[in-house]
Symmetry: C2
Subunit: 739 residues, 2 copies
């Protein structure tokens, strides 16, 4: 964690109403701040082209019952003058514990605008301008006239220059497991209803023009713009509500949500911005309020990544750089992990998490599992887990995830059942001591699983015992899950309190040297820089949906532009037997080719990579040659080069394995197929590499012939070009072993 600080105060002065500007180190990105009357506003340009037209900044505060006792109620929207502007610059290079590159440069120019409000209060808007975009946040210094406040909503505006193409998810307080929509901004409203996966275990949409971040856009003249946030700590997650031609007012009620408990917030007291403006919309708590704040404090960073080259969106470290440095003293126990697990066969429906059908429901305090009748389809049994351990040991996988090992799965989801799991009691057919011993004897670890069913109070009550159990048996990683509506009722997955919960679990885990991979939790905002034991999240539509009707073939060509901006995703790729009906009664099928599955280990960066298919599939003669790539591929990197990229079309990336001269290349395309031309100019000069190329066969197709792949070997060197054909829904993977 070396850091080089070059921080210098360059300039500090007061000024009148004229715009203040700050540019990126290369001068391409410029932010201008000014007052519109007494309302703060900002604008962003890139290479002289407008990115964000003048847009207001501010927060509306709630009229709380305790206002008279010190909680402030005056909005932080207007009545401001500029009390001071401070410019600064910063340049450091830091090394992540794990990541896409060994070194990350954090280089920006900064402008901190101190705003004084009538009545004596002070707020700071701090801009950091990088070569690839902008981050800004609100800061609330401690002051006698602003000690505590409740947020009705943050009203940060992002006024677009036109009717851009956007890749968006319906804004939702509880789920992001939808297929991304591609449309013009003006089409969001008409497409909204059909874009919602109403069957998800927890849906809470709020506006027919509400969308999630990270939101990727492309302008008609070829600018790529991404809106997201960084370092969301003790604050509610931000959504964006698009003001379009039909908008009459900002949202004041849930629109068609299945979670109808949250009361309607008060309407905004400020004029509507012009059409094609996004306005921030925070996730509410059970009472409809958006956050409780105590000064000194600040909002997360609101991020705008911008470039005229789509590849820059993928290589950007802007969000990581806006997070705080590593908060852990000792990170020696954190390691990238390749794993398999008892999981896919349950997702597909072939076996079960639960153990018995004796009762319509169980209460853990009363039910005696030792006397229960097993139904015979419980997957997490001693025999099967040993089989997975043997498989992992034989194939260089580090860990074996076992879901359904612990009691309580008989009735676990969406019944408002508070005491749903205890996280420490195994099912009778899971011998936790013996299985961990066996795994360790084979050089493998078991990976813990904590499904919380979103009963967060119950989880917190058991958390210490659960982590102690992990320490006792030698687990060092946990996959946690948040399926279903949050208990206590009325709260949401992305509220301030839930964001505090997730971070609480991560911090407590760090004390126990436990790595966390949280599913259905909040979408990440780069906190893995500060807490590198947060090795993964799901927080998007993962491979499991290939068993629930399928993901669109372009899905994985979008995720790196959107979901992965905040941190790695446990996408669980590697389903080589793409036709589930060949081994189960599930009629769904994977919407990629086999070569496309292999590509994901490189294109979907994560320090945690699962080989998600069954061992018996990987061992099949027809699939074993493809599995070789999963065995070989690294999951930690010294260098990464995004070679080709276009949102929802294709991504090609080459990465050099950590501490090695070996490279791996992944290419993934959408339903149209394509030809990739990869110029190997990143290889060491004068050196020979043995390339193993896993490619779609000539007639491969994700629908009609997904399992047709070729494996070819050849010697290559710097300057060579690999020309590879990607089938519709396909891709390729290449390993380059330095000789």
């Amino acid at each position: 964690m070396n850091k080089t600080f070059l921080s210098t105060a360059l300039l500090a002065y007061s000024l009148a109403a004229a715009a203040q500007t700050v540019s990126s180190p290369d001068g391409n990105v410029v932010v201008a701040f000014s007052l519109d009357g007494s309302r703060p506003q900002y604008a962003v340009t890139y290479k002289g082209r407008d990115v964000i037209l003048p847009s207001h900044l501010g927060l509306e505060l709630a009229r709380d019952k305790h206002a008279s006792r010190g909680l402030d109620e005056t909005d932080l929207m207007d009545g401001f003058t500029v009390a001071g502007v401070k410019l600064d610059t910063f340049d450091e290079t830091w090394q992540p514990v794990w990541g896409e590159t060994r070194d990350i440069r954090n280089h920006y120019n900064e402008m901190a605008v101190t705003l004084a409000q009538t009545g004596g209060r002070t707020m700071v808007v701090r801009f950091r301008v990088f070569d690839d975009g902008v981050g800004f946040r609100y800061e609330f210094p401690q002051q006698k006239d602003l000690v505590y406040f409740l947020i009705q909503d943050e009203r940060t505006e992002f006024r677009m220059t036109g009717d851009h193409t956007a890749w968006w998810l319906p804004g939702d307080y509880d789920t992001q497991e939808q297929m991304t929509q591609e449309s013009r901004l003006s089409e969001i409203r008409s497409r909204f209803h059909d874009a919602v996966n109403w069957g998800n275990s927890s849906v809470a949409v709020f506006s027919p023009t509400g969308v999630q971040t990270s939101l990727q856009m492309r302008t008609a003249d070829g600018l790529y713009i991404n809106l997201h946030e960084a370092a969301c700590v003790d604050y509610a997650t931000m959504h964006l509500e698009l003001v379009d031609a039909q908008t009459k007012a900002l949202t004041t009620k849930l629109e068609g949500s299945s979670n109808a408990y949250t009361p309607a917030p008060a309407p905004s007291r400020f004029p509507l911005p012009p059409a094609m403006t996004f306005v921030s919309h925070l996730t509410p708590d059970a009472t409809g309020l958006k956050g409780a704040m105590q000064t000194p404090c600040q909002s997360p960073w609101r991020t705008i990544i911008v470039s005229d080259d789509a590849r820059d969106m993928l290589s950007s470290n802007l969000i990581l750089n806006l997070n705080e440095p590593c908060a852990l003293d000792d990170v020696s126990w954190i390691h990238p992990t390749k794993y398999c697990g008892v999981w896919w066969e349950m997702i597909v429906g072939k076996s079960n998490w639960h153990y018995t059908d004796d009762q319509p429901s169980v209460k853990l305090a009363d039910f005696d599992y030792s006397r229960a009748t097993p139904h015979g389809r419980h997957a997490a049994n001693n025999e099967k887990v040993r089989r997975y351990i043997d498989f992992a040991a034989a194939n260089g996988l580090d860990e074996v995830l076992v879901e359904g090992w612990n009691v309580g799965w008989e009735d676990w989801a969406n019944m408002w059942k508070r005491d749903v799991f205890d996280f420490v009691t195994p099912y009778p057919d899971f011998d936790i001591a013996a299985l961990n011993d066996y795994a360790h004897s084979r050089g493998v670890k078991l990976m813990m699983h904590h499904e919380t069913s979103s009963s967060t109070q119950n989880y917190e009550q058991h958390l210490e015992d659960a982590y102690q159990l992990m320490n006792r048996y030698g687990y060092d990683a946990v996959k946690s899950g948040y399926v279903g509506d949050i208990i206590p009722r009325g709260d949401h997955h992305y509220s301030q309190s839930m964001n505090n919960h997730y971070l609480y679990c991560i911090r407590q885990a760090a004390k126990h040297h436990v790595m966390v991979n949280a599913h259905e939790a909040v979408r990440p905002t780069g906190l893995c820089r500060t807490y590198p034991n947060l090795v993964g999240n799901e927080s998007a539509r993962g491979t499991e949906y290939e068993a629930f009707g399928g993901n669109r073939p372009d899905h994985t060509c979008i995720l790196p532009f959107t979901r992965l901006q905040g941190g790695p995703m446990d996408y669980t790729p590697g389903i080589l037997e793409t036709q589930l009906s060949t081994w189960s009664s599930n009629t769904s099928w994977v919407r990629t080719t086999v070569a496309g599955q292999l590509a994901l280990y490189v294109t979907m960066y994560s320090p945690l990579q699962m080989a998600a298919d069954l061992p018996e599939h990987y061992e099949r003669p027809d699939l074993a040659p493809a599995f070789q790539f999963i065995r070989d591929v690294a999951c930690d990197w010294d260098d990464s080069r995004y070679l080709e990229a276009e949102p929802a079309d294709y991504i090609t990336v080459a990465r050099r394995a950590k501490g090695s001269d070996n490279w791996f290349i992944g290419g993934k395309c959408d339903e149209n197929g394509r030809r990739a031309a990869i110029r190997l100019d990143f290889l060491d000069a004068g050196r020979t590499y043995e390339a193993t190329i896993y490619a779609d066969a000539k007639d491969a197709h994700y629908e009609t012939n997904p399992k047709a792949f070729t494996v070819t070997k050849k010697k290559v060197k710097r300057g060579d070009t690999l020309k590879l054909t990607e089938a519709p829904g396909g891709g390729f993977a290449v390993s380059l072993m330095a000789k």
Copy 2:
């Protein structure tokens, strides 16, 4: 914990619609159950006189979003037939860990009515009929058609026979710290608004005819009726809404509450009962729902204590008997406790809980107290605590409570501040190790204090560490506090989830051998039988209000009829310097005489008794003679005899100290004064007792001459009569030492 079970199944048969009855062992109390069409109803008589006119039973269930996934939505109100009636009888005598008597007889006849609902569901209503009243509850067996359900509200009716006199508190989801009102039922509505203490730190009233339990009434013809509940576990606390002549519908919204977050519940779909009927009204969660249930489960017991002798209301053990036996294997560490503490001088405003005024607020994670400027009025400092330890040691007090010992008091209440305390970090001037060592060297323990500020998630996150700290330093009791609105916002002090929280803390405390005394928590319902480490609660208006404008002189002549029905109260009596202005700038004053203060140690039963005034007051020559009674009085008893009682007028009780032949008598009266005639026919025959009588002086008066008392000694024997005059707002205390 000896138990004698005489349980026998007497009778089980099916029947048609005719009323089924069950009588108390002495035949005085009779419960009749029948169906009104298909709606269950019950009625109660006492010695042939109506107590409860035919009243409906049932629950309305919520239409939940998850109804289609197994959560039931059909009301449990009608469509019932009687599927079976089972009669039973029970007689045991058990010994409480601490209590008013050594032995408690639990003797009742039982009738369990199994109700079958159209559609196949089953519900049981179980009645237990004691000589002094009735308990009944709903039971929901596990069954395939009733697995989970959400309660919109419980609709248990209690139809009164007339316009009784009632001693009532405004129904409130968050506080019971009001003065009791005495009025006819028909006057509740007009008196409601003025009865609310709107300045309380958390007020959430729901109806102008909503009242709390325990509710004490007296009929025109001299029957005493008390409505309350027993064994409220995993269920919301019950209030009662009176249907009066003006009622148009059951409450659907909060009426004038300062906590306006809870959404309005759906209106009842059933006809309004006749006027003068109470209908149960449960405390909602943040979404307005009243409870989430999983079968098998049951409601708390709804209790009706009835007698034609007011003294029977006070000696009743009906509520304790309806609770489950002790759940703890080892109770050796639980002990009645007399204590003093660093408390009253802060309540009065002479010193402070907090340490510094350096900042308008603090964040525990960031603030360095060791560098803070002390303001000099911090009470919990080493010197003062040693002074209290010395005082306790010199006067036979077991423990010393110290409030304000831990960091965070700078800004602790009602700011929606989540991370308000950590419960483990002392202020710089409180040397926790040295002070505990010193206390132990003097034979005294310190008593822990945990103010949670109602930030329950924060408290639970620190609970294990906090209890471990107590174990480390030798604390064995904690006073906890729940001032202010519940965090997370929208929840209430008496909701199902909060009731689960309180019990969670008690159970976790038991694991650490910690006794709990919870203030501002839910009013008790006899759970101290099951968890005898719950040694006290506040949960009513305590002595502290004598510093906030005063309690009415009849206040302590009501509490034993109401609040104390569910369990002991930490009333913190013993303020012998009744005029606060003599030593502080507080102009409030105690509304009793000194002798009245002494009486409370006997009339207000509690295993936990505080000597709440300052040591320097107890040591004053004019007050030390009165303090001698506080030194002498027991706080655990083998026997108790209620000699005289009338709600809000007077209470006289004699108690024999545990394992001793010594008796203590307390008499307390209202603002009118009275003459008590105490026939000492409970003393051992042929034995002499030295009586020390602490009485109001002739001209004593709570307003004009509160500190005029006399101490006289005389020899007495069985059959003698003590005639004692109680001044207005006064009382007396007598110790009888067996010779």
